[in-house]
C-alpha cells in the first residue's frame, strides 16, 4: 500500500470511529448534565466541600466559582512544583524555578499544557500524578462545564441562572472523563504504553552507549492527556516518545481519544437545544476545517522537495519512522485543531506550509473541533458573528437558536473575537521588538519569526504544543506566555458566560419561514467563510512574514 493511500485510509477510519462514537457519548453527556440525581460519591464531595448542589447560579456566581477554583488550582500546583524536593516519589528532583513553576501551574490549569520543562528531567511521580494529572482532569472538566453553561443560556428563558459550576465540574470529571480515561488507559497499556512507578534505570543502547530510562505511570497520564485535550507529555518528547506512544495502534487510539469529547459535545449541544441538525451543521464546519488542515499538511509533507525527502517518500525530518508522514501530519492537524498540543513529530521540522497550516489551525481560535468545551463555545461565538451578518441579509434582527442578537450580545461577541488576536499579536510583537526575547530564537529569518509567533499562538489559544526551536525557559517567555495562557483562557470564559447569561434572560423567539435557518449546509458554508475571513485574515500579515515567506516560491 502506498503511503498516501495509507494516510487517506487512516484519516477515513478515524473519521468513521469518531462519527460512530460521538453520538452515543453526546447523548450520554446531555443526560449527565441534565440529570437530577447525584451519585453517592458526588454527594460526599458536595458535603465535604460545603456545596449546595441544588443552587442554581447566576452567570456571575458561576464565573466566580470557576475563577476561584482555577486560582486555587494554580496555587496548589505552584506549591507542588516549589516544594517538590520535600515530597515523596520526587526521584530526587528539586524545586522548579519560580518563573517556570508559575508558567507550568498556569499552563496545566488553563488546559494549555505548554511545557517549558522536560518531564523526565524535572518532575517526580507524585507531582505528575497528584499535581499535573489532576489538572488534566479538572481543567478539561472546567471547559466542558462552560460549554454546558453556554448551551443552557440558549435553552433557558427569562433567567440568567446557568446551573451549578461545582456540580458541572464534579460530574464532568467523575461521570465523563474518569470512566473514558480509564478505558483509554487500559487500551493504551494493552497497546504497549508503559505503566509503573519505576525510577530511572540505565540501559545500554545498540551502539554501546548508556542511557538513563525513566519509567512511570505513563498510560494513565496519556489517556487523560489526550481525552481532556491537554497535551502535556510525561516525557519531553511527548507522543513521539516510544513509552507514551509505541506504535501506530496506540497512535490511532490517542487520536481517537483527542477527538472524542470535542465532537461528542457538539452532539450533546444538538440534543440539548432540541435540534440535531444544528449539531450536524457545526460538526460539518469543524470537520471541514480539520479535513482542510489534514490535506494541506499531508500534501505539503509528501510533496516536500529535496532529494532526501524524495527518497524517503516524504519529508521525514523530525518524524518517527514508526509513524511515517501520514500519521504525523494527521496527528499534527488533530492536536492543533483541538487545543491538545500533544505532538508525535517535531512541528519545527514540518515543511513551511504545513507548519503554517498547523499555526493557522490554532490561530482560528481552536474550533476545529477545539478543546473540550472551549471548541464548542468558541465555534458558537463565531456562529453568532455569522448569524449576525447573514441574519441582516434576510431582513430580520439576527437571532440564533431562538435568541435575538442585539447590542448587548454583539458587544460580548465583539470582545470575544478581540481577545486572542490581541494577546497573540501583541505578545509576538513585544518578543520580537526586544533584544532579550529575540535571543531565544534558534533559527534566523522567517522560520525564527514563526517560532515566536507559534509560541504565542499556542499559549494564547491554550493549545500548548511547541514549534520548537525557541528556548522558552527564560523568565520573559515563562511569564509572557503564562500571561497569554491565563488571559487567553479566562477572558473568553468570562465573556461567554456573560453572553450565556444575557441569552438566558431573553424569552425565546419562535422560528418562522422568515428566520435564518442555521442548520443547513448553506449556513455551514457561511460559517466557514466567517471563520476564515474574520478569524483567519487577522493573522495573514504575520503569517506572510513567517511560514508564507518561507514556503511560497
Amino acid at each position: 500500500m502506498s503511503a498516501t493511500l495509507a494516510a487517506v485510509l487512516q484519516a477515513a477510519l478515524l473519521a468513521l470511529c469518531v462519527g460512530l462514537l460521538a453520538r452515543p457519548i453526546g447523548t450520554y453527556l446531555a443526560r449527565v448534565f441534565t440529570s437530577e440525581r447525584h451519585l453517592a460519591i458526588e454527594r460526599v464531595i458536595y458535603r465535604v466541600g460545603g456545596i449546595d448542589p441544588a443552587a442554581d447560579q447566576r452567570w456571575t456566581a458561576y464565573l466566580a466559582s470557576l475563577v476561584g477554583f482555577s486560582a486555587a488550582s494554580i496555587m496548589v500546583l505552584f506549591a507542588f512544583l516549589q516544594l517538590q524536593g520535600s515530597l515523596p516519589l520526587s526521584l530526587g528532583f528539586g524545586a522548579m524555578p519560580t518563573d517556570q513553576a508559575l508558567n507550568t501551574a498556569i499552563s496545566f490549569t488553563t488546559n494549555t499544557n505548554w511545557q517549558s520543562y522536560a518531564g523526565e528531567s524535572a518532575l517526580g511521580h507524585l507531582v505528575q500524578m497528584a499535581g499535573l494529572a489532576v489538572q488534566n482532569f479538572v481543567s478539561a472538566a472546567v471547559g466542558i462545564a462552560v460549554a454546558i453553561a453556554v448551551i443552557r443560556g440558549f435553552t433557558r428563558s427569562h433567567t440568567d441562572r446557568l446551573g451549578n459550576f461545582w456540580v458541572d465540574l464534579v460530574r464532568g470529571s467523575i461521570r465523563v472523563l474518569l470512566p473514558i480515561a480509564a478505558i483509554g488507559a487500559v487500551v493504551l497499556v494493552f497497546g504497549g504504553v508503559l505503566q509503573n512507578l519505576a525510577g530511572p534505570h540505565d540501559v545500554t543502547t545498540l551502539s554501546g552507549a548508556t542511557q538513563s530510562q525513566l519509567g512511570g505511570p505513563v498510560a494513565s497520564q496519556e489517556a487523560i492527556k489526550e481525552l481532556g485535550t491537554n497535551g502535556g507529555g510525561f516525557f519531553n518528547a511527548n507522543s513521539a516518545h516510544p513509552y507514551e506512544n509505541p506504535n501506530p495502534f496506540t497512535n490511532f487510539a490517542e487520536l481517537l481519544l483527542i477527538l472524542l469529547i470535542p465532537f461528542a459535545l457538539v452532539s450533546a449541544f444538538g440534543t440539548l437545544v432540541g435540534d440535531r441538525k444544528q449539531a450536524r451543521t457545526v460538526t460539518l464546519v469543524m470537520a471541514t476545517l480539520l479535513g482542510l488542515m489534514i490535506v494541506v499538511t499531508t500534501v505539503s509533507e509528501f510533496a516536500h522537495p529535496g532529494i532526501a525527502a524524495q527518497l524517503a517518500g516524504g519529508a521525514m525530518e523530525g518524524k518517527e519512522a514508526r509513524f511515517g508522514v501520514g500519521s504525523s501530519t494527521l496527528f499534527a492537524s488533530v492536536t492543533t485543531g483541538t487545543s491538545t498540543g500533544a505532538v508525535n513529530a517535531a512541528h519545527d521540522s514540518l515543511s513551511p506550509l504545513a507548519g503554517g497550516a498547523v499555526l493557522l489551525n490554532m490561530a482560528l481560535g481552536e474550533i476545529a473541533p477545539g478543546g473540550t468545551g472551549s471548541g464548542l463555545y468558541g465555534m458558537l461565538v463565531l456562529a453568532m458573528v455569522a448569524v449576525f451578518i447573514a441574519g441582516l441579509m434576510v431582513g430580520r434582527t439576527p437571532e440564533y437558536l431562538g435568541k435575538k442578537l442585539g447590542p448587548a450580545q454583539i458587544k460580548l461577541v465583539a470582545l470575544y473575537i478581540l481577545v486572542t488576536p490581541t494577546i497573540v499579536l501583541l505578545g509576538t510583537a513585544v518578543a520580537l521588538a526586544f533584544e532579550g526575547p529575540r535571543g531565544s530564537i534558534l533559527n534566523a529569518g522567517p522560520h525564527g519569526l514563526t517560532e515566536v509567533l507559534y509560541a504565542f499562538t499556542s499559549a494564547g489559544n491554550n493549545n500548548g504544543s511547541a514549534f520548537g526551536g525557541l528556548s522558552a525557559n527564560t523568565p520573559f517567555y515563562n511569564l509572557a506566555l503564562g500571561a497569554a495562557m491565563l488571559l487567553g483562557r479566562f477572558l473568553p470564559i468570562a465573556i461567554v458566560l456573560a453572553l450565556a447569561g444575557s441569552l438566558g434572560r431573553q424569552g425565546p423567539t419562535p422560528a418562522t419561514a422568515g428566520t435564518l435557518p442555521t442548520n443547513t449546509t448553506l449556513f455551514a458554508g457561511l460559517l466557514l467563510g466567517v471563520v476564515l475571513i474574520v478569524a483567519g485574515l487577522t493573522y495573514l500579515p504575520a503569517l506572510a512574514l513567517g511560514p508564507l515567506a518561507e514556503g511560497v516560491r
Binding site: 458573528v385 449576525f388 451578518i389 447573514a390 441574519g391 441582516l392 441579509m393 434576510v394 431582513g395 430580520r396 434582527t397 442578537l405 442585539g406 447590542p407 450580545q409 454583539i410 458587544k411 461577541v413 465583539a414 470582545l415 473575537i417 478581540l418 488576536p421 499579536l425 501583541l426 509576538t428 510583537a429 520580537l432 521588538a433 529575540r438 529569518g445 525564527g448 519569526l449 509567533l453 424569552g507 425565546p508 423567539t509 419562535p510 418562522t512 419561514a513 422568515g514 435564518l516 435557518p517 448553506l522 449556513f523 457561511l526 475571513i533 474574520v534 485574515l537 487577522t538 495573514l540 500579515p541 504575520a542 506572510a544 512574514l545 508564507l548 515567506a549 514556503g551 511560497v552 516560491r553
Partner: protein, 687 residues
C-alpha cells in the same frame, strides 16, 4: 413630486455638508471613519515632510475616502431637509380664533394655544394646531401634510375627528379642541423626523457598529504589531504604507454608508407617506411575525352590499322588502343604503297594486315622527320606531332573536338555517323583524350582505406566509362569516366578533410566545392595542388618541400599507447586511494587493501573492486605497435606495444575497484594483 434621491441639485447641496462633517467631534461618532480621518491627517503630515507622488496621492485619496462617507450621509439627509423646508412653510404663523367659555372670540397666535383651548375654523382658515373636532363637519385640505390634494371630511365624534395643524378648512365651520402643546404638533414632529434631528440609532444599527468597531480594533492591532515583525524580518515599513493597509482592511465601506442607510430607510417610509415616530419601529417591522389586519377596508372593499333578501317561510318577499327598507331608511351607513336600494328594486318589480308599492322619491326619508334606533355595539341592531307603535329592526341573528324573545316570539329554525347559510357563504346575515303596537313580533327574513375581498389579497398573503409572517384577520363578524371570508381571502387565522379587548388579548398572547405583532388602527378604542403592538400604524384619518398610541402614522390612511412597511423594514436590514458582507469580503483581495507590495522586496517568493499582476508596490497600494474610496461612491445609490426586497423565504434570500454581495465582494475588488492599477501605473513616479 418628491425629488429623486439622487437629484443633481440635492447632490450639489450635499457637498458643503460633507466638508462640514469633517469636524472630528462629529466624525468620532463613526469610529471606523474616524480612524480613516486620523490616518488621513497623519498621511498628510508625512506627505508634506517627505513629498512624493505616492505619498501625496495616498493622502489625497484617504481624505477623499472620508469625504465620500460624509457625502453619502449628507445626500441622505438632503432630501429630508428639503422636505422639512416645505413643511415649515406649511406651518404658517397662523392665528387661531379662540373661543372662551363665555363664547367670545379672540385672535391668538398658534404658538400661544394651549391644550384644551377651543378654536373655530371656517372655510379658508388654516387650522392653527392639532386637535379634535368637537362640533360640526368640514372638508379639509390636508395636502400640506399628506401631499394628497383631494379634500377629506373631518367631523365631530367618531373616528374621523382629528385635525392636523397647518391644514386648511375648505368648507363649513368646525370647532376644534386643541390637543397638542405648542412646538409639539404633528408637523413639528414630522419636521424633526425628516430632518433627522430626532434620529436615534436603532438597536440593530448600534449592534452593527459595535461589531464594526471591534473589527477595526482587531485590524488596528494586526497592523500596529506588524511593524515589529517586519523590523525583525529586516523590512521595516513606512508609516504611510501601514496607514494605507489599515484603511484598506477596516470595514470602511459599510462604516461609511451605515448612517446613510439608516436615514434613507426612514426616508423611504416618508416617501410612502408613513411617519415612523421611532427608528426602532422600522426595524421591528422587519421582524414582525404576526400581522393583525382589519377585515373591512384592508382585506375587503369595506362596504358590504345587500345582494339578496331571503324571506322566512310563509312571508311575502314584498313584505320583507318593505320592512327591511323601513328598518334601513334612517341608516346612513353604506350597508343601510344598499339595503334601501335593493329593496326599492325588488319592490319596483313587485306586482302593481301591492300595498307595499313604492310611492316615489318622497319615501326615501323616514316617515314623520319615526325615531331612528341607531346601531350600537351593545344591541347590534338598528331600525325605526314608527309613530303607530310599530317597530322595525334589522341586526345580527342572535341580537334579533333576543329582541324577539322580549315579545315572546322566537326566530324560526328555517330562518336560522338561512342565517347560517349566508354566513357559510361568507356573507353577513341581517335578520329583519318587526313588532306591532299589539305586542306581537315576527321575523320576516334575512338580508344577505356580501363582503367583497379585494383583488390580489390572496397572493399577498401567500407572499407573507413565505416570508414567515402569519396574518390574522380581525372582524366584528360572527365566526361563521369570518371563517368564510378568511378562507376566501387566504388569511392564516381570524378573530371573529372581535372587541377591542379581544384584540389586545390576542396581541399579548402572540407577544408572550416571542412574536412581534403589527397592526393598524384608527379608533380611540384601538389605542391600547396600537400601543401594545410592536408596530402600531395609526391612520392619519383616525383620532388623536390612536395617533399618539401608535409608533407610526400613515398619512394616506391605507391599512394595506402595513405590508409595505414590513418590506421596508426588511429592506433596511438587508441593505446593512449586504454591504457589511461586501465590505468584509473585500479584504481578501486587498491583502493580495498590499501584502506582496510590502514584502515582496524582502521575500521575493511573496511576489507569488501578486495574482493581479499589479505594476509596482506603490501602484498596488495606491490602487487598493483608490478602490476602497471609489467603492463607497459606487455603493451610495444602493445604500440610499436600499437593496430590493423580494418576498421569499429566509433561505432563498440568504442564498441570493450571499451570492451577490459575498461572492461579489470577493471578486469585485480583484477586478477593480487591477483596472485602477492600469491607470495609476501611468502616473510618473508611481510605476
Amino acid at each position: 413630486m418628491p425629488a429623486s434621491i439622487l437629484d443633481p441639485t440635492l447632490l450639489r447641496g450635499a457637498v458643503p455638508g460633507a466638508v462640514r462633517k469633517l469636524d472630528p467631534r462629529l466624525m468620532v461618532r463613526t469610529p471606523v471613519m474616524f480612524v480613516v480621518e486620523v490616518g488621513s491627517v497623519a498621511a498628510t503630515v508625512l506627505a508634506i515632510t517627505d513629498p512624493s507622488a505616492f505619498a501625496v496621492g495616498l493622502a489625497i485619496w484617504l481624505w477623499l475616502t472620508v469625504l465620500f462617507a460624509n457625502f453619502a450621509e449628507a445626500v441622505a439627509e438632503g432630501r429630508g431637509k428639503a422636505q422639512a423646508d416645505t413643511l415649515r412653510a406649511a406651518r404658517t404663523e397662523a392665528e387661531g380664533r379662540r373661543i372662551d367659555d363665555a363664547g367670545h372670540e379672540s385672535l391668538v397666535a398658534a404658538a400661544d394655544l394651549q391644550v384644551g383651548d377651543i378654536v373655530v375654523c371656517e372655510a379658508g382658515d388654516v387650522i392653527p394646531s392639532d386637535g379634535d373636532v368637537v362640533e360640526g363637519v368640514a372638508s379639509v385640505d390636508e395636502s400640506a401634510v399628506t401631499g394628497e390634494s383631494a379634500p377629506v371630511i373631518r367631523e365631530s365624534g367618531g373616528d374621523r375627528s382629528a385635525v392636523t395643524g397647518g391644514t386648511r378648512v375648505l368648507s363649513d365651520r368646525i370647532l376644534v379642541k386643541i390637543t397638542a402643546r405648542p412646538g409639539d404638533t404633528f408637523i413639528d414632529r414630522m419636521i424633526a423626523l425628516v430632518e433627522g434631528a430626532a434620529r436615534q440609532r436603532t438597536p440593530n444599527e448600534i449592534a452593527l457598529s459595535i461589531l464594526l468597531s471591534a473589527l477595526t480594533i482587531v485590524f488596528l492591532i494586526a497592523v500596529a504589531t506588524l511593524q515589529p515583525l517586519a523590523a525583525y524580518s529586516g523590512g521595516e515599513q513606512e508609516l504611510i504604507v501601514l496607514i494605507a493597509l489599515l484603511v484598506c482592511l477596516i470595514p470602511t465601506t459599510i462604516g461609511a454608508l451605515l448612517s446613510a442607510i439608516g436615514i434613507a430607510g426612514m426616508d423611504r417610509l416618508v416617501q410612502r407617506n408613513v411617519l415612523a415616530m421611532s427608528g426602532r419601529a422600522v426595524e421591528a417591522a422587519g421582524d414582525v411575525s404576526t400581522l393583525l389586519l382589519d377585515k373591512t377596508g384592508t382585506i375587503t372593499y369595506g362596504n358590504r352590499q345587500a345582494v339578496e333578501l331571503l324571506p322566512a317561510p310563509g312571508i311575502d318577499p314584498a313584505d320583507l322588502a318593505r320592512v327591511a327598507r323601513l328598518a334601513s331608511l334612517a341608516d346612513e351607513t353604506p350597508e343601510g343604503r344598499s339595503i334601501v336600494v335593493l329593496a326599492d328594486r325588488l319592490l319596483a318589480d313587485a306586482p302593481a297594486g301591492s300595498e307595499a308599492g313604492v310611492d316615489g322619491e318622497a319615501s326615501k326619508v323616514a316617515p314623520a315622527g319615526a325615531t331612528f334606533v341607531a346601531f350600537s355595539a351593545e344591541t347590534r341592531m338598528s331600525g325605526l320606531d314608527l309613530p303607530g307603535g310599530t317597530s322595525t329592526r334589522k341586526g345580527a341573528g342572535d341580537a334579533v332573536a333576543q329582541w324577539l324573545g322580549g315579545f315572546g316570539a322566537i326566530l324560526p329554525d328555517a330562518l336560522q338555517e338561512e342565517v347560517n347559510g349566508v354566513s357559510r357563504r361568507g356573507g353577513t346575515p341581517l335578520v329583519v323583524a318587526e313588532s306591532t303596537a299589539s305586542g306581537h313580533a315576527r321575523a320576516l327574513g334575512v338580508v344577505h350582505l356580501a363582503d367583497v375581498v379585494k383583488e390580489g389579497m390572496r397572493e399577498r398573503f401567500e407572499e407573507l406566509r413565505s416570508m414567515g409572517i402569519r396574518t390574522v384577520m380581525i372582524t366584528g363578524d360572527n365566526p361563521l362569516t369570518a371563517a368564510a371570508i378568511a378562507k376566501e381571502a387566504g388569511v392564516d387565522d381570524f378573530l371573529a366578533e372581535a372587541r377591542p379587548e379581544d384584540k389586545m388579548a390576542l396581541i399579548r398572547k402572540e407577544q408572550e410566545g416571542g412574536k412581534l405583532v403589527a397592526m393598524t388602527g384608527d379608533g380611540t378604542n384601538d389605542a391600547p392595542a396600537l400601543a401594545q403592538a410592536d408596530v402600531g400604524v395609526a391612520m392619519n384619518s383616525g383620532t388623536s388618541a390612536a395617533k399618539d398610541a401608535g409608533n407610526m402614522v400613515d398619512l394616506d390612511s391605507d391599512p394595506t400599507k402595513l405590508i409595505e412597511i414590513v418590506e421596508i423594514g426588511k429592506g433596511l436590514l438587508i441593505t446593512r447586511g449586504a454591504l457589511t458582507t461586501f465590505s468584509v469580503a473585500n479584504d481578501v483581495a486587498k491583502y493580495f494587493a498590499i501584502l506582496p507590495a510590502m514584502f515582496a522586496v524582502l521575500y521575493p517568493g511573496l511576489g507569488a501573492l501578486n495574482v493581479m499582476g499589479l505594476a509596482s508596490p506603490e501602484s498596488a497600494i495606491l490602487s487598493a486605497v483608490i478602490f476602497n474610496a471609489l467603492v463607497i461612491v459606487a455603493l451610495i445609490p444602493l445604500a440610499l435606495r436600499g437593496v430590493k426586497y423580494r418576498p421569499s423565504t429566509a433561505s432563498q434570500l440568504l442564498r441570493r444575497n450571499l451570492a451577490v454581495y459575498g461572492v461579489g465582494g470577493l471578486v469585485a475588488p480583484f477586478v477593480g484594483i487591477k483596472l485602477i492599477d492600469l491607470l495609476v501605473a501611468l502616473i510618473p513616479g508611481i510605476a
